[in-house]
């Protein structure tokens, strides 16, 4: 691990000042950042410890939603009674991710900012446009079983590894931040992560020194909440494909559908055209096939990950069948 200067921020203002003065990186749970620093994939000159900032609360918002402090751990968020009752898709997504030990350390803000698990991003001797812009992408013609099939570019085919963010995207979450100049802003989660394009090293729309302070969920949406994760082993593995679904059926027709996908793209993926094709329709296998066609019409495999196209199709159809099962009976 390369040397770095360490400082602990006592409050938000100090966190912003330290990050600006030292061009430092924020560290909270550290489970991903320290792993990458050991491998020297990440080599920050300074770390600003924000883990003790008072951002550990989960509280109701005025409009009936929920504000989740950036330092709330994944374990506490999954176990929160309000989340379990009103946003079960989020509890399920969190519980499907990582291990008990990691969930006790990983934070809400950090989870959103975790880096890809692309093998070549981790392997410092390999070309990687995300780690070393301009060096090339070893995954394009390499081992790419875990890689993206939607929204890729000729520079990068990495996926975003989070389960939590997929559920939050289905829930229309937004991210509240503190800017380096002391101001604050709110970024819709759908506009938070970026596709790789020509700059895969830029993964979010945060500015340098901008700190996530909370994630806000709108009032809980009606319908069945499902998080289905398909992976290589039964526990403690990243998603090959995951689907977060919140689907409501009224009078035999789909009244609302929110669908977000993990494992398919450089960011949690949501496609409104798929949802619109379902709304107002009677649930049926043919309808779900049509939804899958829409989701995957631009999908492209790169060899080893070709299987994700049929897997994504089957997983979506299975989730929609489960979500509408009772209404169809």
């Amino acid at each position: 691990m390369r040397e770095f200067a360490y400082s602990r921020a006592g409050d938000l203002e100090e966190a912003g000042r330290l990050a600006e003065e030292q061009a430092g990186r924020f560290i909270a749970g550290g489970t991903n950042l320290l792993d990458l620093m050991k491998l020297e994939v990440e080599t920050p000159k300074a770390l600003v410890d924000v883990s003790r900032l008072p951002l550990g609360e989960i509280s109701p918002t005025e409009d009936g939603g929920l504000r989740i402090g950036a330092m709330v751990t994944n374990a506490d968020l999954a176990a929160d009674q309000t989340v379990r009752r009103d946003y079960p898709v989020l509890s399920r997504a969190l519980l499907a991710g990582a291990s008990g030990q990691l969930r006790n350390k990983a934070t809400t803000g950090g989870n959103l900012l975790q880096r890809t698990r692309c093998y070549y991003f981790y392997e410092t001797s390999a070309p990687c446009n995300k780690r070393n812009p301009g060096s090339g992408c070893a995954a394009l013609d390499g081992f790419n079983r875990i890689h993206a099939i939607l929204g890729t570019s000729d520079q990068c085919i990495a996926t975003h590894p989070s389960d939590m963010a997929v559920a939050m995207l289905a829930l229309d979450a937004s991210v509240e931040t503190r800017l380096p100049d002391g101001g604050s802003r709110t970024i819709a989660l759908k506009n938070f992560h970026r596709l790789p394009g020509q700059t895969p090293e830029v993964e979010s729309n945060l500015q340098p020194g901008e700190l996530i302070t909370s994630v806000v969920l709108p009032p809980p949406p009606k319908g069945r909440h499902i998080y289905r994760k398909v992976r290589d082993r039964a526990s403690y593995a990243f998603a090959l494909v995951s689907v977060a679904a919140i689907v409501a059926v009224e009078n035999g027709k789909i009244a609302s559908a929110r669908l977000a996908f993990g494992g398919l793209a450089h960011k949690p993926w949501r496609d409104r055209a798929v949802e619109e094709a379902l709304i107002g329709q009677e649930p049926s296998e043919a309808l779900f096939e049509e939804a899958a066609d829409l989701l995957l019409k631009e999908a492209a495999g790169h060899g080893h990950n070709d299987f994700k196209i049929p897997l994504g199709r089957r997983t979506l159809i299975a989730v929609l069948s489960e979500a509408t099962k009772e209404a169809a009976q």
């Binding site: 360490y6 560290i27 489970t31 320290l34 399920r92 990691l102 350390k105 039964a234 526990s235």
Partner: protein
């Protein structure tokens, strides 16, 4: 200098900021019961309790834990007076080589506290916390601890037996 509280003892340490909590325990405090397996948070051999919660000590900096209460395997029992979870791993042959065992035992204690707090898991039918601690639940909740010898069946037996013994005695807290 940083102050680190491990197993109720306060230590003053002069550490490079890069020192992981795991390396501080092993290399600076000679508490070598906590093992280094992968050093990347994948195997769980380094599991310790921080303020009662189980974490991977390899994936956190010692300097970030000033004022926290760290509990390692050495803080649970002694060879003469084993912690019931340690005794249960012996009784049920919950290991072969033993390298992952301290992490398994510490993780099991953290896991049982999480279960008693009503936390659901990925395999829980319902999120309401009213689940039984089945073998499937134990396996899922312990998936952050890898056993290279694959002693998993007896690890599950050992944890279940220690938990049943505690339930029989009606004990609520036996760690301290």
């Amino acid at each position: 200098m940083i102050t680190l509280t491990v197993n109720d003892t306060v230590h003053e340490l002069d550490l490079d900021p890069r020192t992981s909590l795991l390396d501080a325990l092993r290399d600076h405090l000679a508490l070598t019961g906590t093992k280094k397996g992968c050093d990347h948070g994948q195997c769980g051999a380094c599991t310790v309790l921080v303020n009662g919660r189980r974490i991977n000590s390899c994936l956190t900096l010692a300097i970030m834990h000033e004022g926290d209460a760290v509990t390692t395997i050495e803080g649970l029992g002694t060879p003469e007076a084993l912690h019931p979870m340690q005794a249960s791993f012996l009784d049920h042959d919950g290991f072969q080589c033993g390298y992952c065992t301290p992490g398994q035992i510490v993780s099991a204690l953290g896991m049982l506290d999480e279960f008693r707090a009503g936390w659901p898991s990925h395999v829980s039918e319902s999120l309401d916390g009213g689940t039984e601690l089945s073998d499937e639940e134990i396996s899922e909740r312990m998936s952050g601890n890898i056993c290279r010898c694959s002693a998993y069946p007896n690890i599950v037996h050992a944890i279940r037996a220690a938990r049943d013994e505690r339930a029989d005695k009606g004990e609520s807290e036996e760690r301290t």
